[in-house]
């Protein structure tokens, strides 16, 4: 018989023993994969079973956004600058990619809040919740991308070999979204204000990212657009999709590296926060 697993609970922060902590993190991530998969399958099928329009919801919002902006710019209500590709393609790809980013960003807080009851009563790898959120974002993302590709072919855009790199772009959107979403989750679990303020903030941020507007050439707007870390991610991913050469590839790599480190850090924070959150949730 093998030596049984010994678990010790003390008031000490697990940061005190980093090696044990990192080992536990990856062990739990691995142990939670089955649960994550089942949760994701369940959530996705429940989501589409209970909605009349089903899968359409995955892209209805970005589609509506696209139509709005094509109308605004076509009628001259808003004058949008010169875009490197036809404007409808530009705004459609932009809003679709942005929607994937938003999905990823909302997932951690949403999933954790939905799992509150389970968290309070059952000790299971908490990573399963996050993983399940990522699976769901991926699933919805694939639907969006399928529609996007169909539309591009219809509009006569040939992505070329860049398309092979495009999944990397999507993954980096999800990486970034998850990292930021996870960052706000611990506080968001305690105070609901966070969950309410996020869409507001992101709406504003969208207009500082080349989603519906092209990158401004000069002025304060240009500086803000360039400082925004979402800019290179959206631009590069869109360039790969539409057969262009990415202009900000270096910036893209740097942002991803930072996002990856951020994800690791907030993952640790999430784990440390969990017992405290559960205590306060049930208090």
């Amino acid at each position: 018989m093998s030596e049984p697993r010994i678990t010790v609970y003390t008031p000490d922060s697990s940061l005190a023993r980093p090696a044990t902590m990192v080992r536990d993190m990856f062990r739990d991530l691995w142990a939670g994969r089955e649960l994550a998969w089942r949760l994701a399958v369940r959530d996705i099928s429940a989501q589409y079973r209970q909605a009349f329009l089903g899968i359409v919801w995955a892209f209805l919002l970005p589609l509506a956004n696209t139509v709005t902006w094509i109308f605004l710019s076509g009628t001259g209500v808003v004058s949008v600058g010169e875009t490197p590709i036809p404007y409808p393609v530009y705004v459609f790809t932009g809003t679709m990619l942005w929607a994937i980013l938003m999905d990823a960003m909302n997932a951690p807080l949403q999933q954790t809040t939905a799992a509150k009851a389970m968290l309070a009563k059952l000790n299971f790898p908490r990573e399963a919740i996050l993983l399940s959120g990522i699976y769901q974002t991926l699933f919805n993302g694939v639907i969006k991308i399928a529609l996007l590709l169909a539309a591009l072919l219809f509009l006569g855009i040939n992505p070329g070999w860049g398309l092979l790199l495009f999944p990397l772009g999507v993954l980096s959107l999800i990486l970034m979204g998850t990292a930021v979403g996870l960052l706000i989750t611990p506080v968001g679990m305690l105070y609901t204000d966070i969950g309410k303020a996020l869409p507001l903030l992101m709406q504003f941020l969208m207009y500082l990212t080349p989603v519906v507007f092209p990158l401004p050439k000069e002025g304060i707007a240009s500086t803000l657009f360039h400082l925004n870390p979402m800019t290179p991610v959206i631009l590069t991913t869109r360039d790969w999709l539409t057969g262009m050469t990415p202009a900000y590839f270096g910036y893209f790599l740097a942002v991803n590296a930072v996002a990856f480190l951020l994800l690791l850090a907030v993952w640790i924070a999430y784990r440390l926060a969990m017992p405290i959150l559960i205590e306060r949730m049930s208090a």
């Binding site: 049984p4 010994i6 609970y9 089955e34 000790n123």
Partner: protein, 407 residues
């Protein structure tokens, strides 16, 4: 290889909670901050405003094959303690050491995801516990058979009744060979047939070396399952190696400390003066009698008075006894002048309960009350007896075959 026999070791564990939700959330933010800076949880043991100790300095251990019954009044911290053992929340002080795989049945349907079906939940539960898919598949039929709900196994758990969820929960927990099992007041939900099967299963697990902690308000469950009892009360705990002693101590908690003051609502009238009252001790053994003697001085003749006696116990039995002298076909007259009246209640059989004996004397027709006292009493308990009443009984071997002697 020598494997330590102590599977659960709890040393000086304390946990504090906050009474105000707003403050509690803010403390949560503070704790979050200090946790992320690598500081100790719970600081140096000082209470912040509106905080209190839910569990204080608790130390115990549970060995292989042992069942610890955890009892105590509501709010004593039983569930909090289990949640700490299960790793859901962190202790503020002390240390908890768990050896081996743990299964916890905390609250109804816990451990199950409501949207998943029973079948899926079994596999998920097992994967979380680190039991391989293959192993679960092998035991799947046993689990379903034990739960007794094969027709619902493919329905989402949210459609289960509370009893069904508990049945499945216990079936899974018991069949995944946990080394440690925590059960929080859930078996009470199952019907009697299921409870009997659980009892057998727990016995099997105990023999197999599982350490069990069982929380229940049902003293019968506790005394049937446990090998030791831990009594948690606000601000402290006690461990009893003799289960019935623990059960008695638990019951005594509800008998009230201030319950020795006699409530003298009416003690005589100007026409019927009470000179002296003597009564038996207020603490008595099951089977004891209660006697009350009243010396009075009557200004006139009181014909056919009514003596109404009530015995209440504060356990499940409630109003236990009520009768007047008429029930016994007795007519009582108080003649003019001084006299002595005695009443005696024979062989009171309350077991381990607090209670009240009320004696009221009425003039004929119940127009005027001459006397009414309510006397708190306490009945001691007998070891190895958890019921509300204790009867005399005899046990004897009427005949026996002489056992064969071994050569």
């Amino acid at each position: 290889m020598r494997i330590s026999d102590t599977l659960i070791k709890v040393e000086g564990v304390s946990k504090k909670f906050c009474r105000s939700l707003k403050r509690s959330l803010w403390y949560g933010m503070q704790d979050l901050g200090s946790e992320l800076r690598g500081r100790r949880h719970g600081r140096n043991g000082a209470l912040r405003l509106q905080e209190f100790w839910a569990i204080r300095d608790t130390t115990f251990s549970v060995r292989r094959g042992e069942t610890l019954g955890l009892i105590g009044p509501n709010g004593a911290g039983k569930t909090t303690l289990l949640r700490m053992l299960n790793g859901l929340i962190k202790p503020d002080q002390g240390r908890i050491e768990i050896r081996g795989r743990m299964q916890a049945l905390i609250a109804l349907g816990a451990g199950f995801n409501p949207v998943l079906t029973g079948r899926e939940n079994i596999f998920v539960n097992a994967s979380v516990l680190g039991v391989s898919k293959h192993d679960v598949a092998r035991r799947f039929d046993d689990i379903v058979a034990f739960s007794g709900i094969p027709e619902f196994i493919d329905a989402p758990v949210q459609s289960y009744s509370s009893g069904m969820a508990v049945r499945l929960g216990f079936a899974v927990a018991a069949h995944l060979d946990p080394e440690i099992l925590l059960v929080d007041e859930v078996l009470a939900v199952g019907d009697e047939g299921f409870q009997a099967r659980c009892l057998n299963k727990i016995g099997e697990l105990k023999d197999g070396g599982t350490a069990i902690i069982l929380v229940s308000h049902n003293m019968h469950t506790i005394s049937t399952f446990s090998s030791r009892v831990m009594l948690l009360k606000p601000g402290g705990f006690e461990i009893f190696t003799e289960v019935s002693d623990g059960v008695m101590a638990y019951k005594r908690l509800f008998q009230g400390e201030a319950a020795t003051d006699i409530e003298k609502i009416t003690t005589g009238t100007p026409e019927w003066k009470v000179l002296n009252v003597v009564h038996s001790a207020q603490v008595m053994e099951p089977g004891a009698s209660f006697e009350m003697t009243i010396d009075y001085c009557a200004a006139r003749h009181f014909a056919d008075v009514e003596v109404d006696v009530t015995l209440r116990s504060n356990n499940d039995a409630g109003c236990h006894y009520q009768a007047t002298n008429r029930a016994y076909g007795q007519v009582i007259d108080f003649g003019q002048g001084e006299g002595r009246f005695r009443f005696r209640l024979e062989g009171i059989r309350l077991n381990n309960a607090g209670g009240l004996i009320a004696v009221a004397i009425w003039e004929k027709g119940r127009k005027h009350q001459l006397f009414w006292w309510r006397i708190p009493v306490q009945f001691l308990g007998r070891s190895y007896s958890v019921g509300g009443v204790f009867y005399e009984a005899s046990f004897e071997i009427v005949s026996a075959v002489t056992p064969m002697t071994h050569a």
